[in-house]
């Protein structure tokens, strides 16, 4: 055997070996173990299948799209069909959402409609609202996009209030029913010292125990703060209230709690006092259906802070 390894061309066939194909490379011969003919037919069948498939279905890529296939099948059309089917299935629920008193749509009283509203609302929220309010609805403090998860509401947190806010928006020119108010920019009206005093007074409003540290652990200057009280009562109390608790009719924020729309640092508050803020939200009733607006209201109301 060792001899044969050195002289492969002398490799001999053994008794009982299959015949060879006659192919030979460097003395290595190829046995002929014939493939079953039915396997060959299966192979031809796959070719026929492939050709038929590429004729019947979209297959060959071209410059401006693929060949359409004679069956006219398209996954887009299929999706559109399914969306239509589910829309038709949900038509009744959608109709109900525009007719019922939204406060009756709860898990206990109307679970089917409630589940539909929450799912549809979440989907609408993710599509249209999350750009500003975030996918988790936590808002963006630096840009003044409100957090919708907490229990502090500028324009009211009842279902009705939230529905109105979504439908008509805030400070937009498109909807005459949009919520509207405008804070005065106090730069030039108040002196720098007065601004500093009123900023410290605003910070002191959420200091319950009077130890110079407020609800969000910010330290303020107690002297400046007490000097700022008169300025606040003269200039700010008209909207924010004598006690600083705000006014939801005007969208004037409550200054006595731990939540600051634009942040509670002295710099952020000073920026607000000097130049004011003008947060805008679109009127969604102009873009979304009534059912979608109502569903979104129910979803947002259920995020954890609804009143």
């Amino acid at each position: 055997m060792t001899d044969q390894r050195n002289h492969p061309e002398e490799q001999v066939l053994q008794d009982g070996d299959p015949e060879t194909t006659g192919h030979s490379w460097d003395g290595i011969k190829e046995f002929n173990n014939p493939l079953p003919r039915w396997w060959l037919w299966c192979f031809y069948l796959t070719i026929i299948w492939g050709v038929a498939y590429s004729v019947l279905y979209p297959a060959w890529p071209g410059i401006s799209g693929a060949t359409a296939g004679v069956l006219g099948f398209s996954t887009r059309a299929q999706v559109a069909e399914e969306i239509d089917r589910f829309d038709a299935l949900n038509a009744d629920l959608r109709q109900q959402l525009t007719e019922v008193d939204l406060t009756t749509v709860t898990r206990e009283d109307n679970p089917d409609l409630y589940n539909f509203a929450v799912q549809a609302g979440e989907s609408t929220f993710t599509t249209w609202c999350s750009q500003c309010h975030g996918a988790g609805a936590a808002g963006v403090q630096a840009a003044g996009y409100p957090n919708l998860l907490d229990d502090d509401w500028l324009w009211g947190g009842t279902l009705e209030d939230i529905q109105a806010t979504i439908a008509h928006g805030i400070r937009n020119e498109d909807d005459p029913d949009a919520r509207w108010s405008e804070m005065t920019a106090f730069e030039g009206i108040l002196a720098d010292e007065e601004i500093s005093q009123v900023v410290n007074y605003a910070m002191s409003l959420s200091d319950e125990d009077g130890d110079g540290v407020n609800a969000i652990s910010q330290t303020y200057d107690e002297e400046l703060a007490s000097a700022g009280e008169t300025i606040f009562l003269d200039n700010c109390a008209a909207c924010h209230g004598d006690a600083g608790t705000g006014d939801r009719f005007l969208g004037a924020p409550n200054l006595t709690d731990a939540i600051w729309l634009y942040g509670g640092t002295p710099e952020a508050i000073e920026e607000t006092v000097r130049h004011a803020r003008f947060g805008v939200m679109p009127a969604w009733s102009l873009r979304l259906s009534e059912a979608e607006v109502n569903a979104t209201a129910i979803y947002v109301h259920g995020l954890g802070g609804g009143e």
């Binding site: 006659g22 079953p36 957090n147 409550n254």
Partner: protein, 504 residues
Amino acid sequence: MSASETTPKLYAAQEPIFPKRVSGKFRNLKWVIMIVTLGIYYITPWIRWDRGPSLPDQAVLVDLANRRFFFFWIEIWPHEFYFVAGLLIMAGLGLFLFTSALGRVWCGYTCPQTVWTDLFYTVERWIEGDRNARLRLWKAKWDFHKWRLRVTKWIVWLLIAVATGGAWVFYFADAPTLLRDLVTGQAAYVAYATVGLLTATTFIFGGFAREQICIYACPWPRIQAAMMDEHTITVAYRDWRGEPRGKGKKRREMAEAAIASSRLAGPTIRGTEPGATSAPDVQAPGDCIDCMACVNVCPMGIDIRDGQQLECITCALCIDACDEIMDKVGQPRGLIDYIALTDEANERAGNKKVPVMRHILRPRTLIYTALWSAVGIGLVVALFIRSEIDMTVAQIRNPQFVTLSDGSVRNTYDIRIRNMTAEDTTFRIGLTSDDILRVNLEGSQDLMVEVPADETLLQRVYVIARPEDAPAARERTDFRFWVEDFDTQERAHSNTTFFGRNDQ
């Protein structure tokens, strides 16, 4: 490419095989296995099992829609898929064990392809007759007689195939309901498609493809061949006893020549003359009378006397056939037998036959058995200690926490409670922590939730730290959620984390 004088054929037509009817102990064993396995397959979906009003009453049911697997008193949920994984591991180890000990015993006796092909051959024999009649019929012209037999056979095959495909879908839905729906045309499209596909494969694989599946399509034979060693029991021919083979006149001449030759050589020791340079020219005929009985019964169409070959599924029908002939000619049984490779050298040397159990009991098979048993015991233990209530906690991390108007910090969790009991159950949700944390359930005034029998419930839970408590300011606080069956006080729990403001 060198053009050869005679171009070899690169494709081969399927050789028709007409296995002859055989009787004997292995054939009887195969009958029993066929009846038992087919019986299990066809009857199992129809066994009823009372599980109370809220659960299906089918003993074995794969409920894909509700993601449950029912097996008599056992109910497997998707999160317990490790039971299925464990069974698959046991099946794998079982294959190692049986293949290393007994070779392709799975192929020969229990593989569905073998069992259904065997059943189809039985039908074929019943309608068209035994080997010789079928050979004649195959050669005959397509006249009325042939058409009648063939069509009858195909109809019976088709009925078996429909029953086979039909039985499969009953494992996935309530069998009586589904049967009614199938017959009245109200069953789901997928049910008809499955029945149709399995009917087609059963009909084609069992009736026509047969041994081609084992030889060309199935990967198991190749894998199993890699798991066999020299102690593995396989079906083999004792050529040292059977050769030289011969029959009739040729056999008589061989015998006479051998006698003459040995007389000429004189007395010998073990057939070899002291000092002789070569073995005697003429050998006495072996036990094989070349009757072809082993070849005629073979469902794979091979000659076992050529030695071990990849087509052989070790169905042992040739053993039965040969034993019958050996009995008739008055020779001992076992010319074709279950033997191991090591037996050849041993028996050629004239030593005593090694008992089959000596081959089977060796470290390799014992280790496989031990591993197989360990997995099996582990699964049984897991089955008995598993809890009927379970919970998972998914924390909402977008955002990690919410500051409320009074300065409190709130975290939100989605708790999924699994009620695996057969009764509606009230659970109490609570938490255990070294710090002070408050729990609120969304949409509920108290901490109770009701979970229907055999269902899961997703409950949103708020955990609140008041501004003066430590977790509000700390970065993270570990605590434990638990749910408690209100009646039995049985608990499940899950550890999780509360995120605070992380004041430095």
